[in-house]
């Protein structure tokens, strides 16, 4: 990017500066630490100069927004055209209560919905299943059948909002229910906009809501890719997630490396199933974390975009530019929040918001200050949403595209993360791909090592977490936390009994048996699932049929 002669001169001047000016200062005032590291523990130099990025070629490595390799962003105008989607993840207790929260969020300026489901729903159990005891409605809304989805989206026009659903193992069932609700509202499936997370590999790695073994799970995912490319063209069929990998303790580079390795596995599976890469790849989307190390995080998003573009173009021979664009959702880092002095979390979330925005995110969820203690209250959710709005309208960072590009540090860091992530991808390729690396526990162990190292650093005060290991105060018990009514479980059980009395059980049986046959064969299962949800077969019944045919995943446990 720079003239060779000038680079030599800069290098000479830097050495001179070190020997004279710098050393003099260091003798009198030593630096605070021997080694400075990023939030991920990577060493950071004192100063970055053009010499650190001399290998970077502007046109090839950075280019222009909306153009390959998309380092500077996926759209030509970025936030000057349209701000990111402010999408707050919410949902708890019953469909009625969550529906109220969604309407509130839309009134407050939220521009997309993001549905949190409870654990029984995410693992394919109805609310009356023995394993669901104590969990119904806790971390999200309980969905047992289409009846719940009808209430959840009551008076929310599905042709106007885009909806993201954090659902993985039973993603096809929830998508089917969404399609059915749309139909009842008179909105045809080709008009529906939204995302299902549908990323099973990271469930095995880090998040834990898996049901079926790897192979049938990958088939369900490719069935969704195929069905949507033909029938629900505006739907993002997967959100390949680094978020939970990072929450589990990975470094920023691991977050990129492991997530893209999972991405590669999905693309390979779909190609193997006979799909054309340029038909499904434009609907792939990603989901990353935002932690506190602002510049490392910005570099991470840029590195991920550039690396994915290259992978799609060079490895998979994608021709459609849309296949090469890494679009992503961001959520601020839950694990960075402290239970101590929770107000401080507002500041952390603001920094993380800046990181996501300067990194070019397409949508963002900001965590609320009280999330290390419980689910957030309406008031704290509002502050979190306002944080995004302040960054959008007051901070000025949205006025120009990719504002940190050209920073010697950010460009060097972007390259470093890209290289390190690529090293992980190569390692995983050598093992035989992400599914195999997960089965062997390789990815989990790498993440755990990083998590344990981080914990040690906090406990030895090598790493300061304000309010937790330094600047502590005596605190009173926080008041006014959100409580989920423990009666939700009972209420849902009663609703299920009623549902099973009112629906046509004979037709439910028929549809489930057709679904079973489809699962045993190699037809696309989506149409059968849609048929089953429409006659009010429950999520538990549908997943039960699939459990029977596919079996269940067994976690490889190692420390």
């Amino acid at each position: 990017m720079f003239d060779k002669k000038k680079l030599t001169k800069i290098n000479e001047d830097k050495q001179k500066w070190e020997e004279t000016t710098l050393n003099k200062t260091l003798e009198r005032f030593p630096e605070r630490k021997d080694k400075f590291t990023t939030g991920s523990g990577e060493e950071v130099e004192r100063l970055y100069t053009p010499n650190d990025i001399e290998e970077i070629d502007y046109n090839e490595d950075l280019g222009f927004p909306g153009k390959y390799p998309y380092t500077r962003g996926v759209q030509p105008t970025m936030y000057r055209g349209r701000l990111w989607t402010m999408r707050m993840y919410a949902g708890f207790a019953t469909a009625e209560e969550s529906n109220k929260r969604y309407k509130y969020l839309v009134e407050q300026g939220s521009t997309g919905l993001s549905v949190a489901m409870d654990l029984p729903t995410q693992i394919g159990y109805d609310s009356d299943h023995p394993l669901a005891q104590g969990e119904v409605g806790k971390v999200g809304v309980a969905i047992d059948s289409l009846a719940d989805m009808e209430v959840l989206f009551d008076e929310i026009p599905l042709d106007k909002v885009s909806t993201s659903m954090t659902i993985n193992a039973p993603a096809s069932v929830l998508l089917a229910m969404y399609i059915a609700v749309g139909e009842k509202q008179g909105v045809s499936e080709e008009k529906l906009r939204g995302t299902i997370q549908n990323d099973i590999l990271k469930e095995y790695i880090a998040r834990g809501t898996y049901i079926f073994p790897t192979e049938p799970s990958m088939r369900l995912i490719t069935d969704i890719f195929e069905y949507c490319s033909k029938n629900v063209p505006k739907w993002n069929t997967i959100s390949i997630s680094g978020y939970h990998i990072r929450e589990a303790g990975s470094t920023a580079a691991q977050e990129v490396g492991f997530t893209l390795a999972n991405g590669i596995a999905y693309v390979e599976a779909a190609i193997e199933a006979g799909l054309d890469v340029d038909k499904f790849a434009p609907r792939l989307s990603f989901f990353f974390n935002a932690h506190n190390d602002l510049l490392e995080e910005v570099s991470k998003y840029r590195a991920a975009r550039r690396l994915w573009a290259k992978i799609m173009k060079e490895r998979f021979n994608a021709k459609n530019e849309k296949s090469m664009r890494l679009k992503f959702h961001t959520q601020t880092g839950g694990s960075t929040l402290t239970a101590q002095q929770p107000d401080n979390n507002i500041v952390r979330v603001a920094i993380q918001t800046l990181a996501a925005v300067m990194g070019g995110t397409q949508s963002l969820h900001t965590n609320s200050k009280d999330e290390a203690l419980a689910l957030p209250t309406e008031d704290s959710v509002r502050v979190a949403l306002r944080t995004q709005q302040i960054v959008a309208h007051e901070s000025g960072v949205t006025n120009t595209i990719d504002p940190l590009a050209g920073s010697y540090y950010v460009e060097a860091k972007t390259k470093e993360i890209e290289d390190e992530a690529m090293e992980y991808i190569n390692k995983i390729d050598n093992i035989g791909g992400a599914p195999k690396a997960i089965d062997m526990g390789y990815i989990q162990k790498e993440i755990m090592d990083a998590a344990y190292k981080y914990q040690k650093e906090v406990e030895t005060d090598e790493r300061i977490v304000v309010g937790m290991n330094k600047y502590k105060v005596e605190e009173e018990t926080p008041k006014g936390l959100l409580k989920v009514d423990p009666a939700v479980g009972e209420k849902k059980k009663e609703q299920l009994i009623k549902l099973k009395q009112q629906r046509d059980n004979e037709i439910v049986k028929q549809k489930l048996s057709s679904l079973k046959k489809a699962c045993e064969g190699d037809e696309n299962v989506m149409p059968y699932i849609i048929d089953a949800v429409k006659v009010y077969a429950t999520l538990g019944e549908i997943c039960g049929v699939m459990r029977e045919v596919f079996g269940e995943y067994e976690q490889s446990v190692r420390l």
Binding site: I123, E135, T209, S335, Y452, Q455, L559
Partner: protein, 131 residues
């Protein structure tokens, strides 16, 4: 030589957040204890069966999903039903302060909330183990 303290680190319920459980498991192991980690999705019955089979001194459970009020006491009840009184039962996770008194009444000896150093948990176990 006295045998090392044996700990079962367990994840009851459907919650998949296991970073805390795994970090604690490693820290206890590094502190010289023998650690068995159950993996995810354990029912109270499974946890009790494993603690008997593995002859542990401590059961350390982690929940971040909010199901602690149901699942932690179930484990203690089942242990008592088996006539086991000498296992120290502790818990951790995202647990609101308001829930802690009733959990202690139900027989969970101590609750460790986010931000607790592993050293504190180790010290607590060493001082309170019942054998």
């Amino acid at each position: 030589m006295e045998r090392p303290i044996r700990v079962l680190v367990a994840k009851p319920g459907l919650d998949g957040h296991d970073r805390g459980a795994k970090v604690i498991a490693r820290a206890l192991r590094d502190a010289g204890m023998e650690v068995i980690y159950t993996g995810l999705r354990q029912t109270p019955e499974q946890i009790v069966a494993t603690s008997i089979q593995e002859d542990v001194d401590v059961v350390a459970m982690s929940i971040l999903s909010g199901a602690h009020n149901h699942l932690f006491p179930s484990v203690v009840k089942l242990l008592n039903k088996e006539g086991i009184e000498d296992i120290l039962v502790i818990g951790g996770g995202v647990i609101p302060e308001d829930d802690i008194p009733s959990l202690k009444e139900a027989g969970i000896a101590e609750i460790f909330t986010p931000g607790t150093p592993t050293t504190e948990t180790i010290r607590y176990i060493k001082e309170n183990v019942k054998r």
